[in-house]
């Protein structure tokens, strides 16, 4: 690692002020950033740890019924505390990495990083979540801009993520066994008037909604409703773990499994 300083503010205001410094970077749970620093893929002059900021941690239900998750909430806390209110998301969180990783990694850090194989972005898209920052609210559909790219500006921090809790939901991932990142992961969400399908790990463009499946599921929420559909292999990721055709096939299979499991 290159040398840097660490600051550990206890308020959001102090964190934002510290991030104004040139080459300062936010440090959330660090489960991606620290390995990146070890590989010398980044050279910040200062890391601003968000772990001491209590105001961006925790889960609550808003007056309008939406589930509000603080950006600094760990995967482990979401797995435990959202289990009764949003079991689909809690199930997703419970399968990220391993228990020790889940005790550090946060939802805000994951969304801000927008790894093309991260799990949360699929749920955020499928549910039409709202990503709240220190300065504005961003619809999930406008947040993810491509591989590791988001709508976040320099020094902008995710303070909260708001989900309209679906009537039923489920996340299925086909794991790459060494990294346990999804080779393909699909989050499905059933609402009274629509179905949401978010796909991660598959596309060269990053997380996406499978619109055809959403339309089919809106009138017939069943795995059978997807039988006649197929996902084009064009634009799917090709690497040693799978061909584009393989990934395209997995998108459909994982979506069907998720719909069946959501019920």
């Amino acid at each position: 690692m290159y040398a840097f300083e660490i600051e550990k503010p206890t308020t959001l205001a102090d964190a934002l002020a510290a991030l104004k410094e040139e080459d300062a970077q936010a440090l959330a749970g660090g489960q991606t950033l620290i390995p990146s620093l070890k590989a010398r893929l980044a050279m910040p002059s200062k890391l601003v740890s968000l772990a001491g900021i209590e105001e961006i941690k925790g889960i609550c239900t808003a007056d309008d019924g939406r589930l509000c998750i603080g950006g600094g909430t760990t995967h482990g806390a979401i797995a435990r505390e959202a289990a009764d209110r949003f079991p689909g998301l809690a199930g997703l969180a419970a399968k990220i990495g391993d228990p020790a990783v889940r005790n550090r990694g946060t939802i805000g850090g994951s969304l801000a990083n927008n790894d093309p194989s991260a799990c949360y972005p699929s749920a955020a898209l499928a549910c039409g979540a709202t990503i709240v920052t220190d300065r504005r609210e961003i619809a999930a559909g406008e947040f993810f801009l491509g591989l590791f790219e988001t709508a976040l500006e320099e020094g902008e921090l995710i303070t909260e993520v708001r989900f309209e809790v679906p009537e039923a939901s489920n996340y299925q991932k086909f794991e790459q066994p060494a990294s346990r990142f999804p080779l393909v992961g699909v989050f499905v969400a059933r609402y009274a008037d629509r179905g949401g399908v978010g796909v991660t790990g598959a596309s060269e463009g990053g997380v996406f909604r499978w619109n055809e499946a959403e339309e089919a599921l809106a009138s017939n929420w069943s795995a059978d409703a997807l039988e006649g559909l197929s996902v084009p292999a064009d634009g799917m990721i090709e690497d040693l773990h799978g061909t584009p055709e393989y990934r395209a096939h997995l998108v459909k299979v994982m979506t069907q499994r998720a719909v069946a499991a959501a019920g």
Partner: protein, 161 residues
Amino acid sequence: MAQVSMSVNGQPAEGEVEGRTLLVDFLRNSLELTGTHVGCDTSQCGACVVHVNGAAVKACTMFALEAEGAEVTTIEGIAAPDGTLSAVQQAFQEHHGLQCGFCTPGMVMSATALLKDNPRPTEAEIREYLQGNICRCTGYHNIVKAVMAASGQDVGAIAAE
């Protein structure tokens, strides 16, 4: 350099560290608590698992300064002060839950964290919880047996693999 202070195994601990000093390096190099191992240094293997404020974390993927003010427990803090082994440690010994022993500190720390949250885990739950701890001797079978035994459960039902 910056000053860092925390509680380690119930004792106050402090030292001078760089921003980039990992918690595991502070424990091993500054405090000379070398029971916490560095296996992969890439957060895969779990040999460096310690408890920070009661939660299992990989000490190779956390900076020492992030643990400022925290209560840290390492493998050295698991046995009683008189040397009496914890139930997990005792079970690892009785069920031959270690071969070369390199992964053992992390295995014991993870297993201890599991039993705190889930005092009677199933075999499947133990295997899932230990996903982030790798044993290069592939001695998983007896490790799982040891965790079952430490939780007071019968180990006879665990199928030999």
